[in-house]
Symmetry: C2
Subunit: 322 residues, 2 copies
Amino acid sequence: MIKYDIKRADLEQHRPYVKGLSWSEGAISTAEWTGVLLVDLLAYHLLPASQRTNYQALYELLKNAGVRHIRFDGLDMDPTGGVFGSSLPIDLALDPHREVIVAFEMNNKPITRDHGFPLRIIIPGSIGARQVKWLDQITLSTDESESFWQQLDYKYVLPTADGKVPDLKSLPAILDYPVQSVICTPSDGQTLKNTGSVTLSGYAFSGGGRGIISVRVSSDGGKSWYEAKLSPASPAIQSNVAEINSDSPSKSRSVKQWAWTLWTVDIPIPKGIDEIEFVCSAVDSSYNTQPEICSATLNVRGLLSNCWHRINIRFDNSDCKK
Amino acid sequence: MIKYDIKRADLEQHRPYVKGLSWSEGAISTAEWTGVLLVDLLAYHLLPASQRTNYQALYELLKNAGVRHIRFDGLDMDPTGGVFGSSLPIDLALDPHREVIVAFEMNNKPITRDHGFPLRIIIPGSIGARQVKWLDQITLSTDESESFWQQLDYKYVLPTADGKVPDLKSLPAILDYPVQSVICTPSDGQTLKNTGSVTLSGYAFSGGGRGIISVRVSSDGGKSWYEAKLSPASPAIQSNVAEINSDSPSKSRSVKQWAWTLWTVDIPIPKGIDEIEFVCSAVDSSYNTQPEICSATLNVRGLLSNCWHRINIRFDNSDCKK
């Protein structure tokens, strides 16, 4: 589950107009969700029993009826009296390999109140803002959700827009997100004993089910890189072996990767050095990379900030034996 | 159709070890392909007549039979005596919205000999190297194609690999590609009359059906940007209107974008200026961006070079009326 205003704090350093909660690297979590595929739920209600897995027939039925978007409305109301809502184009909503589900369990227990009890929408590989909690209604529609959150918030208003606010309704609603990586340990600003090397670890992910094929860490500002060990490796890397040969129901559906990839790497530290800036950068299975500098992805709402993550670590070179 | 070793020439400037033909911005074209969906061809041969559009049933059938990859072999032989071949994971090969086809027409005429007569595979949104010409065989398989081109070429050998060649078979075969944009006119090194402004135009695209939502051009090295006009606009932008409401068979299938997006923009040119470096950069519908510098995507084979495109233009400020 990804709040994709993480690292907005980085963007704020570049321009004062970036608006929203000043999230840093922490607005992310991973959980196991249990539910019913949205496409199965619709097929159950709309197709004859003999055709229940014929998703193409369902797609044609909806398309011929003029349906273009599936809308989701929650029970929570905002200050203006509207409910929190979102929608998905039918292509995506009905793709069984996108695994959009109406979820009723989180980590094998009923979803807690804060996470959307009793039902919520889970859209793997998409920003959290579309994943409606406390689900009240599913509507087949010609148009996108009209909610404030679909039409006016979570839009990528580009850097050229300084001052001039474009017609927000004409901009696409953010759904997938770009490749991202973060160093979790050590923490920025920490002082470590110089033992000749340091182990760094963190997470990486990308949108749309694209796996992570590489996380690299540099201690010289990007001139040279150390390749991190990934866990799990991207399905793209292991496509000949484990993942799609697995008989686990959750793994055998597709070669897409929905959760974060954890990584770890050992970096040598020269003797006597006082301070190092470490940067990390990932590559996803479509070979997307992260921009070097945050100003390259500036946008008014401070969304989708995915430049190289940088931390400064000080090293204590004093000899303990003294 | 994208030869994704375009712009390898940029990478060669950074490291002498980059191998392969020194392509610049030109190794790309767009055509209209006509053929039979691969999934329909397989369903026709493997499913009972009443189930012909039940792609999920086909997927389950193949998966239960141990099939994980669909292999394609051409008739052209390489110097080692192997044929040119590739393969796709079944998830992708059987996804009707990925529109993988066995093509028999190019631009409404039989495919010419050079382009693969009589049949070739078209995999929209993927690199050209997988799109086998002069198609001879389609094989259902447990494993990837064993051809040289699938196992040993068109792999992204990462920058840390200088000198050390990793086990190429363990690396994923490149399929999708990252977001890219190019300035086509004016040409790098051209001298233009300074009329107070210049019109730049070019193309942009991204892999996997991700559309282009923004192309930006800068005349000050990326400090400020001019937003280009796009044609066609990304389906993600127009998802409420034209594209998926269209009754054209090719357009009504999905909201994916397979062809390039052309763009144009007018940039003001200050009086008396002698030379400007213009750079362009695109954003795709998953909000992927291009890296600023080519060394950020260095790899031994010089593939997937998608840093900002840069051209230098000289301006003639002499007064013609003299």
